[in-house]
Structures are given as structure tokens and as C-alpha cells.
């Protein structure tokens, strides 16, 4: 066996009798084998757990959607929608042309379709809703729609920007969540 072949086998992490025989007579390949063994041991010795340097749970709690069907206070809705707007405006600063990934486009299209369907359902129930509640919902939808439009425009210019993609996903999710909650309302309105 030549050294080149031995190196290939070693770097692949494989083993075979001919390699063992080669290593017995080749100090250079033996050194490579020893180095790789040290790397493997170092990898095995790495801690299985690494705590983040800050508490990430508040950020998680802020992002996850409650499973109950209860309405959050209207003030929260306004604040959330405004946050989406500000976030999108801020992240829409960086522009760079590139084609959008197909999967992302498909996902965005699904979100659009879901929003459109829910919006249609809301329109059909418009007469059943309390006017003040409906006004609040419309106000928040307008803010979210603005945020979505801005973010989509920025994404058209920079399809690889993950923060823009996340901002768009969050805005879409908030819109869908808002529409679903609105559809669950009766004339008693917001809490």
C-alpha cells in the first residue's frame, strides 16, 4: 500500500488489514493516524452540554403562541403589530439582488393563501363582530400588512437575508393568528 492510499483510508476513518501493515512500517502515516486519533478523542471529550451565555427563555416565551383561544388584550395586539413594523423597517435596510429560494417562495405563498382564506372568512363574518373590535382588528391587520409588504420588498432584493425571512415569517404568523382570533370572536369583542 502506498502512503497516499493509506492517508485516504485514514481520513475516511476506515480500517483494513493492509493499512495496519502499512502503518507498522511507515512513521509518517503512523503520525497521521495518531493525529486523527487525538482529534477523535478530543471530539469525544467535548462537553455534551454548553449553556448559552444569556437566558434565552424570555425570547422563546415571547415568540411562542398561546394554545388557548383567549384573546390577548388589544394593547398587546397593537404593540405586537407595531413591533413587526419596526423590525421589518429596520431589517429592510440591506439590499442585495439574488434569486429567492424556491422553498421559501412556496412557503410564503402558502402563508399568503392561508391569510387570504382567513381574511375571506372574516369578511363573511363581519356583520357578526362588534364594530369597535373589528376596527381594532383592521388597524392591526393594516400595520402587519405594511410590515409584510416592506419585508417582502426587502427580501426581493436580498433573498438570503435570514433576519428578513424570519421577520416575514413572524409577520405572516401574527397575521394568521390575528385573523384566527378574530374569527373566534363574537360580538362581545376583545377582552
Amino acid at each position: 500500500m502506498k502512503c497516499e492510499e493509506a492517508a485516504l483510508i485514514l481520513l475516511d476513518g476506515d480500517s483494513e488489514p493492509a493499512l495496519t501493515a502499512h502503518l507498522a512500517g511507515c512513521a509518517e502515516c503512523r503520525a497521521l493516524a495518531d493525529d486523527l486519533a487525538r482529534i477523535e478523542r478530543a471530539a469525544a471529550d467535548l462537553p455534551r452540554e454548553v449553556q448559552p451565555t444569556r437566558d434565552l427563555f424570555p425570547g422563546i416565551a415571547a415568540r411562542i403562541r398561546p394554545r388557548t383561544s383567549r384573546w390577548a388584550p388589544a394593547r398587546w395586539l397593537v404593540a405586537a403589530a407595531m413591533l413587526v413594523g419596526v423590525t421589518s423597517w429596520t431589517t429592510a435596510r440591506v439590499l442585495r439582488p439574488d434569486p429567492a429560494p424556491t422553498a421559501e417562495i412556496a412557503w410564503d405563498a402558502q402563508m399568503r393563501a392561508a391569510s387570504a382564506e382567513l381574511r375571506g372568512a372574516l369578511e363573511a363574518r363581519r356583520a357578526d363582530l362588534d364594530p369597535a373590535t373589528l376596527a381594532t382588528v383592521e388597524q392591526n391587520l393594516a400595520v402587519i400588512d405594511d410590515a409584510i409588504a416592506e419585508t417582502r420588498a426587502a427580501l426581493d432584493a436580498d433573498p438570503e437575508d435570514r433576519r428578513l425571512r424570519q421577520a416575514l415569517d413572524r409577520a405572516n404568523e401574527q397575521k394568521i393568528s390575528l385573523l384566527r382570533r378574530a374569527l373566534a370572536l363574537d360580538r362581545s369583542g376583545l377582552e
Binding site: 475516511d12 497521521l32 493525529d35 424570555p58 435570514r162
Partner: protein
């Protein structure tokens, strides 16, 4: 909104029944139960995120994303695998599917590519800083190395998780090992 109060981390080796009860409570909307789950598993998830992403800030984002997805998908855990295994699998999928692991923000200089073909390195220092060395690897090579040599997945599992072929996974591992040895020498 959730009034956040830090909850002490329970033992990671909590009895299965306790884990089941916690997951059931969280799946029903109990955020406090979910926080307990988070504190039980965040170290493990963050370790994978950090090593796969190679960037602390991105790792924080990924860790949060994993738990947000976990919250959304808790109901899909049937208990046929350990919850930690289910969560780990979810974490790998989230990390591999996230553009920050492949996007231009982390498409930093790949210095290791430039040294291929240089003269053979000397021996690896016994006290190697593998964490730092991992951070210098090209993204795909790093991901495959972490999944293989740290997380213990075999080539087929890695290929499946990454949506690539077994041959490509092996090739990336080969590359990672070669680059690490050169870097650490």
C-alpha cells in the same frame, strides 16, 4: 403575556413519567412546564447549535428557534423515543434547515480551503482546542464532523439529515478531518 420568573433546572435524568407529564402539560399550553423542559435540555441543544453554526450569536438564535418549534410540535412526540432524542433530532433538522447555517452571514472566509496542497503538517498538539478549530471549518464539513464525531450519527443518518448522499457525507467528513489536522498541527 408570560410573566417570566426563572425556574430552577430539574435533573436531566428525570423519570420518564415526569417527562411525559411535563410534555403533556406543555402541549396543553402550560408555559411553566415548557420552561422546565427548556431548562432540562437547553444545554444539549445549545451545544449542537453552537458547534453546527460556529457562531455564538447564531447559536443563540438557533437554540431559540429549536424550542419555538418544539413548542409547536410537542404533540407529535409519542413517547416511542426518548424525549431528549426527539428534541435532538428536531434540533438537527432545524439547524440544518436554517439559512443562517449556510447563508452569507456565516459564509465567512474559509481559510482552511487555501492550505490544501501545502506541505505536510507536523504532529497535532496533544492539548488541542477542538472547539476553536471547528469554528474554522467550512460549514458543510463542520456540520458533518459534528454530527459524525460528536453526535455519533453514521454516514447514512447524516446523509438523510442533510439531504445529501452517503458519498458526499463521507467526503465532507474526510475533508473535515484533513483540515482539522492541518489546522491543529
Amino acid at each position: 403575556m408570560h410573566a417570566h420568573a426563572r425556574i430552577p433546572s430539574p435533573s436531566p435524568s428525570a423519570p420518564v413519567a415526569d417527562v411525559r407529564a411535563l410534555v403533556d402539560r406543555a402541549a396543553a399550553g402550560d408555559l411553566t412546564a415548557f420552561e422546565v423542559i427548556y431548562r432540562m435540555h437547553v444545554g444539549r441543544v445549545h451545544a449542537v447549535s453552537l458547534r453546527m453554526a460556529g457562531d455564538p450569536s447564531a447559536a443563540d438564535d438557533l437554540t431559540q428557534e429549536v424550542f419555538v418549534r418544539a413548542w409547536e410540535q410537542l404533540g407529535s412526540w409519542r413517547g416511542d423515543a426518548a424525549f431528549a432524542t426527539w428534541l435532538h433530532r428536531l434540533a438537527v433538522n432545524v439547524i440544518l434547515g436554517d439559512r443562517r447555517a449556510t447563508g452569507r452571514r456565516l459564509a465567512r472566509v474559509e481559510p482552511m480551503d487555501d492550505i490544501e496542497g501545502e506541505s505536510a503538517p507536523t504532529a497535532v498538539d496533544p492539548g488541542i482546542d477542538l472547539e476553536r478549530a471547528l469554528g474554522t471549518l467550512p460549514i458543510k464539513a463542520r456540520q458533518v464532523f459534528v454530527l459524525s464525531q460528536i453526535e455519533g450519527l453514521d454516514h447514512a443518518e447524516i446523509a438523510d439529515a442533510m439531504g445529501t448522499s452517503v458519498g458526499t457525507a463521507k467526503s465532507q467528513l474526510h475533508r473535515a478531518r484533513d483540515l482539522l489536522r492541518r489546522f491543529l498541527s
